[in-house]
Subunit: 354 residues, 2 copies
DNA sequence: CTGAAAGCGCTTACAG
DNA sequence: CTGAAAGCGCTTACAG
């Protein structure tokens, strides 16, 4: 290993015949540098394979040029599972960061842990994006503290008044209303809702409220026995379905607060020999990649994850640059597939086809 | 925004009644610091909510404490798609990094671009993990250059002699052999292989070689007309299947070099009214999350992505610490599901069940 | 348009 | 076991 000394801006300065300060300016595109000098510096840098030291630059300028993306997950015993819905935002977040010249730091955090010091305070990142269905109330107090210290944070979630930080989210209320509206159109009258609809999970709660609203509009009195708590996992969906079945209340449809829950529910129903959609129609929420592949393909609500990722990055950068930003709600789109259709579709669907 | 001055190690020093140097030592757990002093420093740091400035620390120590994870993708028009197989490694890579106290920087790179300067040279990261099915030969020359400059790199891929960097990979040869062996056991005799089997894609090539070996063991002469190039995407799988059908060579099974290709193939077969598995058995490779959800559930080869992620991080850290490391091949596991079974299974499978 | 100089907040020999 | 001092490689007023 030939450990040649690190090449610094001084080496470039010497080669280009300018001062080190000018090298720094030229390389950052400072308009005060003359075009001719800039070119000379740049070619010198290219010759020596020089790259600006990020640590020195960040230390001096107090700009990390980095964004931290934190995934919150309730501790799973198995390391490797990430909620596929959030994963689907990763691509557009990464690309958006790259487009703006920012690096992306990612990290998983257990909800319980003391994550709030780690990123902004240590100057690793200029701002933080928060992703995760988690207990909302647990978050809130920490977010408040962070905001007091001036940390820039943007999160994905329920868009509500009095949020402790800028939030980008889907129109969960109308999403819930559309799903239940669709199930009612199919002729279902006893629609179960699987998902924790408490204040701890405001997104689920809003979907539930949309659901209730759709029922009331049609003059149907909601039955509490048809709501079962569940968190966003297949397992939880399976269990919730078992609970529902054990209650003995008749139902002809399940509206699951997330696709993962829905997939678990379909599994449980099949175990009991209940046919989907012929005996029970099922719909989910999120339109994760699997949704169109399960059997039967799952009716669900699509959230524009690509746009969401871009907006998260965009909003955070505006925050960082002290520009005005507001929380925003993205429109949703109902994706009707076979799982919710009481009558069979004429043509066989192909996997991956919508 | 009360922009109080940043708290530095000098403030902690003052509060704890020690020198700034001692603060630095205490906080990094330097054993030369007395237990009593360490405690005093730590509580002072806690009181003032102090966190070590990562940039200053990295600049001085020349250790970034960060690993860069680069995904290589052939440029897709759509931002948001990441190969699900690599995504499944993300969890364990992230966790492994966290466990070792390293941060994880992630970035997507087009194969074409000039990525090699960006991370190690600018001291953003102490080492790089490379993930991606891409044209192997394009990579190689860049990797060579990087190695010359002393960059620490570990990649996922085909484990072969003369690799330009430490590589962790699956036993692709035996994987390919198992799949084809299984298809032969099912009675198939005309097994098509979908995947680019050239030197440009060594992993596919090894799977193909395993496939050929299995055929020869049973005295079957491979037919070139049964191999069609494809890269790892649904679309490419669909097209390759069309090409295969257009050739008019009879086949009773398809071994797709990746699950994505297999899923595309199943779609194309269905379009042509060809039943899977009754007319054509299909098998894939990777065991991506969708594989068990498609209809019929896909027979495939599971690679231990969790272990793979851990080993990638582990190997890279050993490289960083100048410890001996070697390329390693991970065992594979054949997952038999309905897509390859010529006779129907007795019980209905449930989604997500193996 | 460019240069000389200070300083970002740490770590790390060196000395005691 | 602890402190004083140098210095990592930049950016940024300040001056011309």
């Amino acid at each position: 290993m030939h450990s040649k000394k690190r090449i610094t801006s001084f080496d470039i300065a010497e080669l280009a015949g300018v001062s080190q300060a000018t090298v720094s300016r030229a390389l950052r595109g400072d308009p005060s540098v003359s075009e001719e000098t800039r070119q000379r510096v740049e070619s010198a840098a290219a010759t020596l394979n020089y790259t600006v030291d990020k640590n020195a630059s960040s230390l001096r300028s107090k700009l990390a040029g980095t964004i931290a993306l934190l995934f919150f997950e309730d501790p799973t015993p198995d390391d490797s599972h990430i909620n596929p819905f959030f994963l689907s935002m990763l691509g557009s977040i990464t690309h958006a960061c790259a487009r703006h010249g920012y690096d992306l730091l990612i990290s998983f955090q257990e909800l319980a842990r003391d994550w709030h010091a780690d990123f902004a305070e240590s100057k690793k990142a200029d701002g933080i994006i928060l992703l995760g269905y988690g207990d909302y109330l647990t978050h809130t107090s920490r977010l408040e503290k962070l905001r007091e210290r001036g940390t820039r944070i943007v999160s994905w979630g329920a868009v509500m008044p009095d949020q402790p930080c800028i939030t980008i989210g889907c129109d969960n209320f109308n999403g819930g209303r559309s799903v239940t509206g669709h199930l009612l159109d199919q002729g279902c009258r006893h629609i179960a809702f699987l998902g924790d609809a408490s204040r701890h999970f405001p997104e689920f709660q809003e979907r539930y409220h949309g659901h209730l609203q759709a029922l009331r509009t049609r003059g149907i009195v909601p039955d509490d026995a048809l709501q079962v708590d569940a968190e966003s996992s297949q397992d939880s969906g399976r269990q919730a379905t078992e609970t529902l079945l054990a209650r003995g209340v008749p139902f002809d449809a399940i509206f699951a607060a997330s696709d993962l829950i829905a997939i678990g529910a379909i599994g449980a129903l099949m175990t009991h020999g209940i046919s989907v959609p012929f005996e029970v129609a099922v719909a989910g929420y999120d339109d994760i990649p699997m949704a169109s592949f399960v059997n039967p393909p799952l009716t669900t609500v699509q959230q524009d994850t690509r746009r969401a990722g871009e907006m998260l990055v965009d909003s955070l950068l505006r925050l960082i640059h002290n520009e005005p930003v507001e929380s925003r709600m993205l429109p949703m789109k109902l994706m009707v597939r076979r799982s919710s259709l009481w009558q069979d579709v004429a043509h066989a669907e192909q996997p991956g086809e919508d």
